[in-house]
């Protein structure tokens, strides 16, 4: 038994171990002979590119999926597969990548319901269960509104609700599938504080994140998958960012700045003057030219996202003017913005705006039917299929073909479909909020290259992000927002990591 254990540095029976797990979906192999051992009190990082099988492995451990082959050992006892209730009874809690919350129930009920199910209770009392929910929310130092329906929450609050739900019962194994995608730095720090407390209590944890620094910081053990195959396992101390990327992608990834200042037209494609939304930001002015990628950054709460939302008509401005190609436009609604040629990809990990049961192709084209017409009624099918093909290839969506339903995609790949949908619409100005959140480190580069190419073809691109390396790699200029005002605009060599970080936090 010990011989097949990955070297995790601590002797003793693992709390949970999987051996030789295989799983395929209709011929496509998602996992092939993967093994993993979790030690009490350790955080085990599971890393790999989008679609390499991380979430699939997690779902097999939690009983949400059945493996085709392999075994699951809990305290040394073998099981051919798990069922969800069995896994919960064994003390396995999962924060799913798609959260798996009940949109129609309140935050409080979402947090406690799973543990009540596990108790095999026949009755449910909202009042009796509320203190448990309150306690965990307080312990995490959050201000979640317990009485709100989950469907009315922001993505971040949904994620926090999912975290609370996993932590509320006394679990022995807690698996976190990208738990931090929507969180702020301080929330991540608090989560890590809790993780350390859980470790002291002897809980075994699994942590998945495409933010490699986080993964390296929080974990003791590490396993890397590539295309459903186990690549390497070992203590985290034996890895650094570079070796991690190397193992994940099988190649070295270039993360340096490739931008030069392009020749810009005189007239900006988007010109914003003295834009204000009370309580969010004030007196924001800037120009965006064709072929340019402009970054907007700042801490969360600085107003960086609200600027984009205002331009997209979600948060109509109180004062100020917006010009697109020299023409003043009034943006009071999303429809106004789209008509003016402004597109917005919201920061979105829940594959929002996608039709999950429909194919990748349908989803890509769904937002831009008007751009692919031939005459008033007919679609130009040749143009449609060439657009789909081009975006599918460019964004390297990992799927057997364009007809696969979006539901069958991994989280990161569904995110790419959202991006493809907006690119297909070819707006004059495209604003993207966190365009590569949840995308693996290797593909980040490719997606950023796509943005550069789009800009090169004459689109004006706005990237809202707090990912400093990403901004440095892709942006010609970077707007720094602090407390609702633009405090600086970095250009040329001024766009570098230290400068951005200092200005943001200062």
């Amino acid at each position: 038994m010990t011989s097949s254990n990955p070297p995790t540095g601590q002797p003793g029976v693992p709390v949970l171990e999987v051996r030789n797990i295989s799983k395929s979906y209709g011929g496509a192999k998602a996992l092939e002979g993967v093994s993993l051992a979790l030690q009490a009190g350790h955080v085990h990082c599971l890393a790999g590119e989008n679609g390499c099988g991380k979430s699939t492995l997690i779902k097999i451990i939690s009983g949400a999926e059945r493996p085709d082959g392999g075994e699951i050992f809990i305290d040394g006892k073998p099981h051919p597969f798990m069922t969800p209730s069995q896994a919960i009874k064994e003390g396995i809690q999962v924060i799913y990548q798609d959260f798996s919350l009940f949109p129609n129930l309140t935050v409080a009920e979402n947090i406690v319901l799973t543990s009540v199910v596990a108790k095999r209770s026949k009755v449910f009392s909202a009042g009796k269960n509320r203190p448990a929910a309150e306690r965990i929310v307080k312990e995490l130092g959050l201000t979640l509104d317990l009485d709100k329906d989950v469907e009315r929450l922001s993505v971040a609050d949904k994620q926090l609700t999912a975290i609370c739900r996993a932590l509320v019962s006394e679990a022995r194994v807690i698996i976190m599938d990208e738990p931090t995608t929507a969180l702020t730095h301080s929330e991540v720090a608090r989560l890590f504080g809790i993780v350390r407390k859980l470790q002291d209590r002897g809980v075994a944890l699994v942590f998945v994140s495409h933010k490699l620094e986080e993964a390296l910081q929080v974990s003791q053990d590490l396993t890397i998958l590539r295309n459903g195959i186990h690549v390497v396992s070992g203590p985290t101390t034996g890895f650094d960012r570079r070796s991690l990327i190397k193992h994940m992608t099988g190649r070295a990834v270039n993360e340096t700045r490739l931008i030069t200042s392009p020749q810009l037209e005189e007239r900006p494609v988007l010109s914003v003057r003295s834009l204000s939304v009370s309580g969010a930001f004030h007196d924001v002015s800037f120009d965006l030219h064709r072929g340019e990628i402009l970054g907007i950054t700042g801490l969360l709460g600085s107003g960086r996202s609200e600027i984009a939302e205002s331009l997209f008509g979600v948060l109509p401005a109180d004062s100020g003017t917006v010009e697109v190609e020299g023409k003043t436009v009034r943006v009071r609604s999303i429809d106004d913005a789209i008509r003016a040629g402004i597109g917005y990809v919201p920061e979105d990990r829940l594959t929002q705006g996608l039709f999950l049961e429909k194919s990748i192709a349908d989803n890509i084209i769904a937002g831009s039917v008007d751009k692919h017409r031939r005459g008033p009624v007919l679609l130009d099918s040749k143009k449609v299929s060439s657009s789909i093909r081009r975006l599918f290839d460019q964004l390297r969506i990992k799927a057997p073909n364009v007809l696969a339903p979006v539901r069958s995609l991994s989280g990161g790949n569904a995110q790419r479909v959202v991006l493809a949908k907006w690119l297909a619409n070819q707006p004059k100005v495209l604003m993207l909020n966190g365009p590569t959140v949840g995308v693996d480190v290797g593909s980040k580069e490719e997606i950023l290259a796509v943005l550069r190419e789009q800009a090169g073809n004459g689109m004006g691109v706005l990237v809202i992000s707090d990912d400093v390396p990403e901004l440095v790699t892709v942006c010609n200029r970077v707007l720094i927002v602090r407390q609702g005002s633009v405090i600086d605009i970095l250009e040329g060599d001024g766009v570098n990591g230290t400068a951005i970080e200092e200005l943001m936090a200062a």
Binding site: F102, L105, E109, S154, V155, A156, A280, G301, V314, E347
Partner: protein
């Protein structure tokens, strides 16, 4: 959260509206009553009130069955077929009134049949994961066919004594003064059923499981709910409720006709949807459903009173359904835009 922004919230109004628009519905009801009273002053009387309650007895029990199915994210069109199958069979077994096993036995027997037919629905839906509409469309045809082919197609006029005794029992009888008003005794079990179903939905894990299923079936499975078991139990319960409604219908009509109740499905579904149950699943309440049924009955009654032909009443119910569903579709669209905003503007 660090990023805080308070969006204006309609607090008082929102509370009045209720989780499923119950407040709005109650308001519409009141407005309609006032309007009718102005048009025809005789409308506003205890007699009318009791008559509307009486006409709501059967629809309300049906509506409870439909409600739990809709909350779970399904739709059931077989309930009327189950109802008449169960009630007619139960009456038929008494040999057209020659043999009277007692009311309780008849009701229990009908419920058993309803449970079995509901089990067929539930098993097929849970096992094969088919569309609930398609399955119940199919089974309702089958149930009706079996009833007429094997049980009987003849109209039974003489009910067993224990049943016909209930037919003529009133809870409240107000006589004299030219206007008599009777409140039928069957409102008692109906009120009881409403309370029970409301408690079941709110306070039991089975009830919460129904909501969970309607919210996200995969999430329910992952949370450890036994989706198959909940679905089967839920259709069995719907079958039992339908059977009860069938028995009540027979009692109120004082005869058992296997051709009855055909085509009443739409009225019921319309009432439930008007009552705030979401056609997408996951939402709905007994209170809203009661209001929805009362509204539909009130409208039907009013239309008769002002002399609108029956054919147009069907149209009116159709329009109501379109309005109810339309409101939901529009607010769902608005909600999805709102969520887009919400994505970053954290409240």
């Amino acid at each position: 959260m660090s990023e805080t922004r308070t969006l204006p919230r309609a607090s008082g109004l929102a509370r009045f509206k209720g989780a499923n628009n119950e407040g709005v519905l109650a308001l519409v009801l009141v407005v309609l009553i006032i309007g009718m009273t102005i048009i025809s002053p005789s409308f506003f009387s205890v007699g009318t009130f009791f008559a509307i309650l009486r006409s709501s007895i059967v629809p309300l029990v049906f509506a409870l069955a439909v409600l739990i199915v809709i909350i779970s994210g399904g739709i059931d069109v077989s309930f009327a077929a189950i109802a008449i199958f169960a009630a007619y069979t139960a009456v038929k077994l008494t040999g057209s009134g020659n043999f009277d096993p007692g009311l309780i036995a008849i009701v229990l027997f009908a419920c058993l049949i309803g449970a079995l037919l509901g089990l067929v629905n539930g098993a097929v839906i849970a096992r094969f994961r088919l569309s609930t509409l398609i399955v119940t469309l199919g089974t309702q045809g089958i149930f009706r066919g079996l009833l007429v082919a094997y049980i009987g197609s003849r109209y039974i006029a003489d009910l067993p004594g224990s049943m016909s005794a209930v037919s003529t029992s009133n809870l409240i009888s107000l006589e004299g003064g030219g206007a008599n008003a009777y409140l039928h005794v069957l409102v008692v079990p109906v009120v009881l059923l409403c309370v029970l179903i409301a408690l079941m939905l709110r306070r039991t894990m089975f009830g919460r499981g129904i909501y969970a299923l309607g919210g996200d079936m995969e999430a329910a499975r992952r949370a450890g709910f036994s989706v198959v078991r909940i679905q089967i139990a839920l259709y069995v319960l719907a079958g039992v409720l339908a059977a009860l409604a069938g028995v009540f219908h027979v009692i109120l009509g004082r005869n058992a006709n296997p051709q009855d109740l055909v085509g009443t499905e739409l009225d019921i579904i319309a009432a439930v949807v008007l009552g705030g149950a979401s056609i997408f699943g996951g939402r709905g309440s007994v209170l809203g459903t009661v209001l929805g049924v009362l509204l539909v009955q009130l409208i039907n009654n009013s239309l008769i009173l002002v002399g609108v032909p029956t054919a147009w009443q069907r149209t009116a119910v159709g329009v109501l359904l379109v309005i109810g569903v339309g409101i939901q579709a529009i607010s769902a669209k608005r909600e999805s835009k709102r969520v887009l905003v919400n994505d970053e503007v954290k409240e």
